[in-house]
Symmetry: C2
Subunit: 269 residues, 2 copies
């Protein structure tokens, strides 16, 4: 911690650290998603707050965790976890034990449980450390070619029906107003259904990206206009997917904006 | 590519792949940010579209790239790059050469150049593959304890003055309406200035997160109410930082919502 900031002075070294541990987005045969240093950090922990114990154990085996699972402490942390269980987790950290939050896939506390405990940790001046790993939202946005300077994520859309249609229309208007990319998900068995509705509701010129099975061997990411999608056969059923669209694209630079640039073809410094 | 989807049938194996390569968020002594498999993928490339050549060469040395930099092909890709240079890059891919986009720090095409070329790649049915690495936006959001089910990123705020104040006020209203976390950055030398303005404009109860030097040894991430921040000495000058706030927190589950849960203390399957 930098000496110039007093923000951390209340942090006691007797307290544990709360790590946020990303996990693979699916059954990944190789490790495309976790840096070695992150794996080393996880290896040092034996206490985990997890969305589902079975997945957590399977993940720890996958990264070769040295502590057998029956010697690890797992506490469930999901949308049903009551406040008093969060306090129990907080107390573990306060007693000096470091622990990690694990969600089923991707980053904890982002479209997944965990933020309630992180909030309590901050209130108790417990150090929170996010570890680098895969986020389907960011991977999809990066690869979409849509606006990455301004974007909004909306989690899961409402169930099919009037409220979902209204939501899609309001996202379109918001994107049109702010030139911001709109990002959302659906439960995988409703992917084809929401995709059809997007093609129905969005104007033909709207660029729409569908990113499925991210980081996995069968990954597909494609951005097309709604008009082109209407002519494409695609089956998204049961494939973990993320949808992105942009109603109003910011302008690309064109050659009349050309500025003096340094030589661009050499790697020599 | 899955046989069940015809979306990729137009992809030709004679075309190159466009990789999106994340880079460290600062001078990282160890590698906390890139998976081995990602490094291996980058090692196979010798053509790079880069925000700044010097940083790109330094990054490739850091990951032990086997090809000497003078044998690599670097083309500049930044906000001044004109459309015809993008077409040149696209043609390289079309001729069957794979290439990677590298930004100075973090993920290409997210608050950084690259999306224009990615868009053209999709239009030419060139495969786009995002690689896993650090994103200050996602790391900060994960560790903030703020709402990760709904959030908006706004890039850099307008310059200080009336338009920045109006922007902050409008983000507050939007957060209040949608319970969505608002995320933005400032140029590092204006961090203290925008932080003061946030304390001035946001109501005392608003939780505000400041995340600086993410993934680096001097990383600090803290979420406090505006009221508590007003009593805290903090110097953010020149520290790469990201700011997040939430005007209207979604409710946490409480014990009366308790549902039947499986045993929570065992790791045994």
């Amino acid at each position: 911690m930098p000496a110039s900031s007093s923000a951390h002075e209340t942090l006691s070294s007797t307290e544990g650290t709360l790590y946020l541990i990303p996990t693979p987005l699916g059954k990944d045969p190789t490790n495309r998603v976790l840096p070695d240093d992150v794996i080393k950090t996880i290896h040092q922990l034996d206490t985990f707050f997890v969305e589902r114990i079975r997945q957590a154990v399977s993940f720890l085996k996958w990264i070769g965790h040295p502590t057998p699972d029956f010697k690890c402490n797992f506490l469930e942390l999901n949308k049903h976890t009551p406040g008093e269980d969060l306090i129990e987790m907080l107390n573990i950290l306060k007693r000096g034990k470091s622990a990690g939050i694990l969600s089923e896939a991707g980053c904890p506390a982002i479209a997944d449980p965990g933020s309630g405990l992180v909030k309590l940790a901050h209130q108790s001046n417990i150090r929170v450390v996010p570890l680098t790993g895969p986020s389907s939202i960011l991977l999809a946005l990066m690869a979409s070619g849509l606006n990455g300077q301004s974007f909004s994520f909306h989690g899961y859309l409402p169930k099919p029906g009037k409220s979902r249609s209204e939501k899609i229309k309001s996202l379109y208007l918001s994107s049109k107003k702010n030139a911001s990319t709109q990002i959302f998900m659906e439960t995988p068995y409703r992917n084809n259904d929401v995709f059809s509705e997007l093609l129905e509701l969005l104007p033909d010129s709207t660029p729409l990206c569908v990113a499925s099975n991210l980081t996995l061997p069968e990954e597909t990411i494609q951005t097309r206009s709604v008009e082109k999608w209407k002519k494409t056969k695609i089956n998204l059923d049961e494939k973990p997917s993320i949808f992105l669209f942009l109603a109003n694209e910011p302008d690309l630079p064109v050659s009349k904006n050309k500025k003096a640039r340094p030589s661009k073809r050499t790697g020599r410094r």
